[in-house]
Amino acid sequence: MMNKFWFLTGSSLKKKLKSKWFLVVNILLCIVIMGVMNIDSIIKAFGGDFNQTNEILVLDQTDYADPIFEKNLDAYNTTLDMQYDLKVEKTDLSLEAAKEQIKDTDKVLVVLDSTEDEYLKASIISDSYIDTMYYQLLYQALSSTKAEIAFSLTNIDPTELQKVTSVVSVDRVFLNEDQTSEEENMGMIMGTVFPTVILPFFILVVFLIQMIGAEINEEKQTRSMEVIISNVSPKTHFFSKIVASNAFVLFQGFLLLLYASIALFLRNQLAVGTTSSITSEIGNIWNSLVTSGFASKLYYIIPLTLVLMILSFLTYSLVAGILASMTVSMEDYQQIQTPIMMICLLGYYLSIMAGMFEGSTLIRILSYVPFLSCLLSPALLVIGQIGILDVIVSIIILCIFNFVLIRYGLKIYKIGILNYSTDKMWRKIIKAAKSKEV
């Protein structure tokens, strides 16, 4: 029987790997991963006016504001890392003539003026809309110019004024060293757990559920199931599907890793001659991990996450197999598998939001729940919301859950795979689970 088991497993795996669907999906995945990781290079490769000069025409009606404005504009452009290519030109034209000059161009006219009530009054005039960042740059430069003019005209020491007007400095201290801010939590989840665990796991679960459903339903629809089950036991057939589908998703996971590596390599090649390179980027990520204290936790986070992932794949595949056995077509299966996908989706969003709801009892409890634990536990572990013990509890619960699924699921599977009626399906499932035979 073991020969038949390995033959069925191998056939199932080979069939999936040889299918056009697998090829198409992987080509698309490869393109998408490489595209996303090199999106900046792709955008630049298509060309465009990336080094456009932003011309500013300054009409200074104060006779003293322009040099200060130009100095501040240059300073903010550098310190805020906006990298606009600015060309500032002072004009002596009248306001109307200056407006006429910028008409139908991208030039911006900045009119500097002063009144009795205001040290500096300015107008920003352009032919059409300008982008928000550019406007912010001009606004910041104008504000600073006004302050500087005010200091010089009123003889107030800028340092003294700064002391008076500066905001209160609040030093926030957490007694718990692991405690981090919401922003840090979100950054940690989105920067580390999301791309390495949450997103790949979600994609692979979708593959897993679809693969099992498609195979079992094909065998049922073509009635070849009767011939297969007359030669191998339902138990052997069930486990061959489970092993094949899990082997498939692990291989698919390896392929995702490979595509990401190729994409990083490409990024490195494309970045030759620029300041950004793969080694510097990886170095930066590693430095941030070390600074946050996360790097020292990796030795237990990685193995625990891997164990959780493998056990969760097993859970999803067992449930998918059991449900597929009770359906007679892919349409029926698509309907019955929707709740599993919804649960997976819930885990997906909860894990992303885990950092926003620090200390949430509900999220913590949900992290023990099979189907969700693989998505939630690593996220909570990374931000220090749960510890190793909690993850071990999740693993134990998953093991027990999988055991129960196998014990009762096999009974359902045995009856389901040769059942071609969808009437009273849930009643049949419950009745089968209660039966004494395995």
Partner: protein
């Protein structure tokens, strides 16, 4: 061929399949009710019944796909389990083929499930493809084949392992007369090698042609069983075929004549038993007769009569 020769070791006449008092319920509905029969080596056994009679359920129980509620099924004295199914071939009522596979892939797939080696499967596949004149389809996908050719592939898949027991559930469905003959020849060849064959068919002429023994099921109950020859002999109603210048109304007046029908100049006289033959002959002896033949009823007539009787009860 290698496969056929290997089957020669089967012992003809020994006890093979034994179905004893088997009952199967689906909920409260009794699908098979205390069914019993035996099939010996080299015997062809017919299972007859209208739709829902319990034929497919019986086959499924023999194959171990369903568990019976009571009774037992043994092959050479052993309860049928997965250690014995490698010796059984099964052609299901509906085509059980993975249509995206090629013919070769499909046969290898089913052959490997019978614990066969790939090379043995390929050798036998070539032999049977030649036998059925479909060698050109070896690398074609199943879904590209006609229904008849798909049926042949299903048959090859069932016999690729030289089974000791072959179960054929409506094997001639969708086949034209030429293909039916090819399949019949193959079945006879297997029988000669000692393979026990059970098959069901709606077409009575196939059962009549093939089977030495049969069971007729109605709603799971056995209404008739035994040797076909005995069944026919014991069935009292007979048919007389007469060709000549007779007056049908005279015959209808005879007590024991059930019906007189004319068909292209020939009269078919149905009588209640053989004692009426003499009375009929005497009645028409003065007429110009060119044909007077007394025949046993066809299996179809017996089947309709038995099934009808049972439904009437």
């Amino acid at each position: 061929m290698q496969g056929i020769n290997r089957a020669n070791h089967y012992v003809l006449g020994g006890l093979m399949l034994k179905v004893e008092n088997v009952t199967k319920y689906y909920g409260k509905n009794c699908a098979v009710d205390h069914l019993s029969f035996t099939v010996k080596n080299g015997e062809i056994f017919g299972l007859l019944g209208s739709n829902g009679a319990g034929k497919t359920t019986t086959f499924r129980m023999i194959m171990g796909l369903l568990d019976s509620n009571s009774g037992q099924i043994t092959l050479d004295g052993k309860k049928i389990d997965y250690s014995l199914t490698d010796q059984i071939g099964f052609v299901t009522e509906e085509r059980s083929l993975l249509t995206k596979m090629t013919v070769q892939e499909q046969i290898i797939y089913y052959g490997r499930l019978k614990n066969m080696k790939e090379q043995d499967i390929l050798d036998k596949l070539d032999f049977w493809l030649d036998k059925f004149d479909i060698r050109d389809y070896k690398n074609r996908k199943i879904k590209e084949l006609s229904k008849g050719n798909q049926q042949k592939i299903q048959f090859i898949a069932a016999i690729i392992n030289d089974p000791k027991l072959l179960i054929l559930d409506e094997p001639f469905t969708g086949l034209d007369p030429i293909n039916v003959n090819q399949l019949k020849e193959a079945i006879y060849a297997l029988q000669k090698k000692g393979c026990s064959i059970i098959f069901s068919s709606h077409q009575m002429e196939h059962i009549e042609h093939f089977c030495e023994k049969l069971v007729i099921l109605v709603k799971g109950k056995t209404v008739l069983s035994g040797n076909l020859k005995d069944i026919k002999e014991n069935y009292q109603k007979k048919n007389i075929f007469i060709r000549g210048n007779i007056v049908p109304k005279d015959l209808e007046k005879i007590d024991g004549v059930l019906e007189v029908k004319e068909n292209t100049g020939e009269y078919e006289v149905k009588i209640k038993d053989s004692s009426i033959v003499n009375q009929v002959f005497q009645k028409i002896s003065s007429c110009a007769i060119t044909k007077f033949v007394v025949e046993e009823p066809s299996l179809n007539e017996i089947f309709i009569a038995k099934v009808g009787e049972s439904y009437d009860e």
